[in-house]
């Protein structure tokens, strides 16, 4: 036993001495490394102090204050294709990402939705210092780059320009970004849920909206707002082709146009005024003034204190009003066709944008019928009853029922867009024309996209006496709407119309879940900036 113990002690001693030896060795190594490093640093300093042969090829030039008008042509990143191979080009772009690797530095340059891989490598064109400079430019800075376009053997999967890369020869910083970004662009385009698994971050809505300028740079935002611009353009284009006249209506008004509740009051010199809730009255006045078919695109204000996914306090209204000959379905058909033309235009001209948005927010492609399916309110109620919902004939659709009806219609007709016609008179505003055959119903309609209402419209009463009667029925103070009723006293053509919310249409077309994603700088009860 003692022997063993002795042995053990000896062994321990040996181990200890071994350990000590190792430690010593390590320390020696460390010291050597340190010396080495210092030597290197000194050498580097020497070279720096020596001379940098590429000194003129990089740097941060004076702020562009419009000093000169060079003839330099800047090529857009989306135009960097294999046809441009081996050409020397100038490009202006943002630094999307940068990755230094020894004597090389890989950059991804981005312009709008497009990006390309670029490379700075130590060689006869670039010095060590230049590579270091390129690697240290903060992300999101704007740079001017001169380089040669080269074809690549292997496709670059992470960039939109997959077949070429740019070999940088000169790089100048035009505008430097701060080193710390409030949100990372990669995080902002990550699909919901994908971040959770890999432990990566996603950016929440409020952070996005607080830093909207950066959030809008993401490919998804770029696509969303390009598509929204497309909707506006298609709307205008289609209606002008149909013979409509675009009008501008005042947004500061003296009386509340719709109902009177939910209106913003603004001080107006010695008195107060309201922000327009809809251009309704002015549209109708234009009809009475024989413009026949009018539309307008402009902001609409609603002081509704509702924080839902689809309400904003300020949004863009696309409004249509049209005189018809004998039946308000003439107007319904025109509006529905306008929507169908918009959907077709988006489907045909915005494929890449839709795909880009789908990458982050997957959704089924938008389906529609031409001509648009028109169901009657009664039918909708019957479909809901068949599905087990209990509701009265003259009851308005609740939001869940609206969604359910959308699903039922989609199931049967496979369309995401349909019209529900002939609403009960009781649930519509006082100026809605009653149905001639059944006093309980009215000549009014809603249009739905993916089961959510986007447009609400009706044949308006154009007869002052009937209008007065209906207003009294609704207990509306006649004095307050005198101007409205009077505008029909000098002969008014029968007319109908409706208004669409641009943000909602964009949201529902893309299958997004929050209207704030499709409003560039959204306004809601809790947000007034930016």
């Amino acid at each position: 036993m003692t022997k063993e113990e002795n042995n053990g002690a000896a062994e321990e001693l040996q181990i200890q001495s071994k350990k000590a030896l190792k430690k010593q060795q390590k320390e020696a190594e460390k010291a050597a490394k340190k010396a080495d490093k210092q030597a290197k640093l000194a050498a580097e300093q020497q070279t720096t102090s020596e001379e940098d042969f590429a000194k003129d090829r990089y740097g941060q030039p004076a702020m562009v204050q419009s000093q000169q008008k060079p003839d330099r042509v800047l090529v857009r990143i989306q135009d960097l294709t294999p046809e441009k191979a081996d050409q020397l080009v100038w490009v202006r772009a943002r630094i999307h990402t940068s990755r230094a690797k020894g004597k090389q530095c890989f950059l991804v340059l981005r312009h709008q939705q497009f990006n390309v891989q670029a490379l700075v490598a130590v060689g006869d064109r670039a010095s060590k210092q230049m590579v270091k400079f390129a690697a240290n430019i903060n992300k999101e800075s704007i740079v001017d780059v001169e380089g040669v376009v080269r074809k690549v053997d292997q496709k670059i999967e992470s960039c939109t320009q997959q077949d070429v890369e740019l070999h940088i020869e000169k790089i100048f910083v035009i505008s430097l970004a701060e080193p710390r970004l409030p949100l990372q662009l990669e995080d902002a385009v990550r699909p919901d849920g994908a971040g959770d698994e890999e432990g990566r971050a996603t950016v929440n809505q409020d952070t996005r909206l607080d830093n909207r300028v950066i959030d809008l740079r993401t490919t998804t935002s770029q696509a969303v707002f390009r598509l929204q611009s497309g909707i506006c353009h298609l709307f205008r284009d289609t209606l002008i082709k149909k013979g409509f006249v675009e009008i501008q209506t005042p947004k500061i008004i003296s009386a509340a146009s719709e109902g009177g509740a939910n209106v913003f009051t603004v001080s107006y010199f010695k008195t107060s005024a309201y922000l327009a809730q809809s251009p309704q009255l002015y549209k109708q006045m234009c009809i009475c003034a024989d413009f026949e078919k009018v539309f307008c695109i402009g902001p609409v204000f609603r002081a509704e204190d509702s924080n839902t996914h689809r309400h904003l306090t300020e949004f863009v209204g696309l409004d249509i009003e049209m005189a018809f000959n004998y039946h308000y379905h003439e107007v319904v058909d025109q509006i529905a066709d306008t929507m169908v033309q918009i959907f077709k235009g988006l489907r045909d001209n915005f494929t890449t944008e839709i795909e880009t948005v789908n990458k982050q927010y997957p959704s089924e492609p938008f389906k529609f019928l031409e001509p648009t399916l028109r169901l009657e309110y009664k039918e909708g109620v019957a479909m809901l009853r068949e599905a087990g919902i209990e509701m009265g004939d003259e009851e308005d659709l609740s939001t869940p029922n609206e969604k359910l009806l959308g699903r039922l219609v989609k199931e049967k007709y496979d369309t995401d867009f349909y019209i529900l016609d002939k609403y009960p008179l009781a649930v519509r505003p006082f100026y809605t024309m009653p149905d001639p055959s059944n006093a309980k119903y009215s000549n009014s309609y809603d249009m739905f996209m993916r089961g959510e209402e986007i447009l609400s419209g009706a044949q308006r009463i154009h007869d002052p006496d009937l209008l007065t009667e209906r207003a009294i029925h609704h207990n509306i103070d006649l004095e307050k709407i005198k101007a409205y009723i009077d505008s029909f006293r000098y002969g008014a053509p029968p007319h109908a119309g409706g208004g669409i919310g641009l943000e909602r249409v964009t949201m529902l077309y893309l299958g997004l879940h929050n209207v704030r994603q499709t409003s560039m700088f959204p306004r809601d009860p809790k947000r007034l900036t930016p």
């Binding site: 489907r347 169901l375 009657e376 199931e411 496979d414």
Partner: protein, 314 residues
């Protein structure tokens, strides 16, 4: 005796004061010598016997049924085992039983909405027979017919968009008895949807044709119905989708059948004629059409309900 024997705790006879306000019933625990005896004599109660016999009978019928179904499934999976329609048709003298077409009994309870039959069809292959049936339905009911184009297809030829006659625009949807909504859509086979709650979609032109024909309320005896079904299947699958060899064979069969009778089944125009004729019109193509078939197609063409179809083909 595996257990202890214990003396009774109470006395032998316990007097219980029974209330007098209740009925008096015979004691059910007392030994009833007579009944016991009878039970042993007959071994089993006749009621139980009857029950057993009934179960045996049910089991026997179930086995029969199983055998029948197995036989049937064999005939279905082996195409050659199909019945020879051409010969059967001589035997049967079908008499269309005039039935009443009550939409409530045929389509179920109405919740106040337009009963809308939605048919999805590919514009590259219009379901002609369904258009013929649509004409027949319109004769019988007040039908609202509409045509739509689904976003999955573009460039639908204008004559397909105008395949229904103009109708009264002044009526509102709920004034109609039946809706017939045709949607041109990118679908492999025609598809019909009616009640999404209680019915699965019906796939295939032949099956939809059967459904629509049933709405007309003509009841058929089972043999006629089987003959019609078999002609329809032959037309849709072998003539419509088969090779040219198969097509020639089917046309020959049709020709033979039409040699014996002016129509395929029975003495009158049946669903078999409608579907088969439409498929011949569409699918025969380069294959030569035999004489009897040509004559029969001429007589189909003269039927008013075929007007729209011929218009579409021109």
């Amino acid at each position: 005796m595996p257990m202890y024997q214990v003396k009774p705790i109470g006395g032998r006879e316990i007097r219980v004061d029974l209330p007098t306000c209740m009925y008096r019933l015979p004691n059910i625990h007392r030994d009833d010598g007579d009944r016991d005896h009878a039970f042993q004599d007959a071994e089993v109660d006749p009621a139980v016997k009857a029950l057993e016999a009934r179960q045996d009978e049910i089991m026997r019928r179930l086995y029969d049924l199983k055998a029948a179904v197995e036989g049937l499934s064999k005939t279905i999976t082996t195409p050659d085992a199909d019945i020879d329609v051409a010969h059967l048709s001589e035997v049967v003298d079908s008499k269309p039983l005039a039935g009443t077409a009550d939409l409530d009994t045929l389509l179920g309870k109405n919740y106040g909405a337009l009963r809308d039959i939605v048919i999805n069809a590919n514009p590259s292959h219009p379901p002609l027979s369904l258009l013929v049936l649509h004409c027949l339905l319109r004769k019988r009911f007040h039908v609202l017919s509409t045509v739509h184009v689904h976003s999955s297809v573009s460039n639908v030829p204008p004559h397909l968009l105008a395949c229904f006659e103009e109708q009264d625009k002044n009526q509102s949807r709920h004034d109609f008895q039946l809706g017939f909504t045709l949607i041109w859509k990118d679908v492999p086979t025609p598809q019909m949807k009616f009640s999404i709650q209680n019915m699965c979609p019906i796939e295939g032109e032949g099956n939809i044709a059967r459904f629509l024909f049933a709405l007309l309320g003509q009841q058929q005896d089972p043999i006629t119905a089987t003959l019609v079904d078999s002609w329809i299947d032959m037309a849709i699958f072998q003539l419509g989708q088969g090779s040219s060899k198969e097509k020639v064979a089917v046309l020959r069969t049709i020709n033979a059948a039409l040699g014996r009778s002016p129509w395929l089944v029975g003495a009158n125009r049946s669903l078999a004629d409608i579907v088969t004729c439409c498929v011949v019109l569409q699918a025969a193509g380069p294959v030569a059409i035999p004489a009897n078939v040509q004559k029969w197609m001429k007589s189909c063409e003269n039927l008013p309900e075929f007007n729209g179809v011929y218009k579409l083909l021109q």
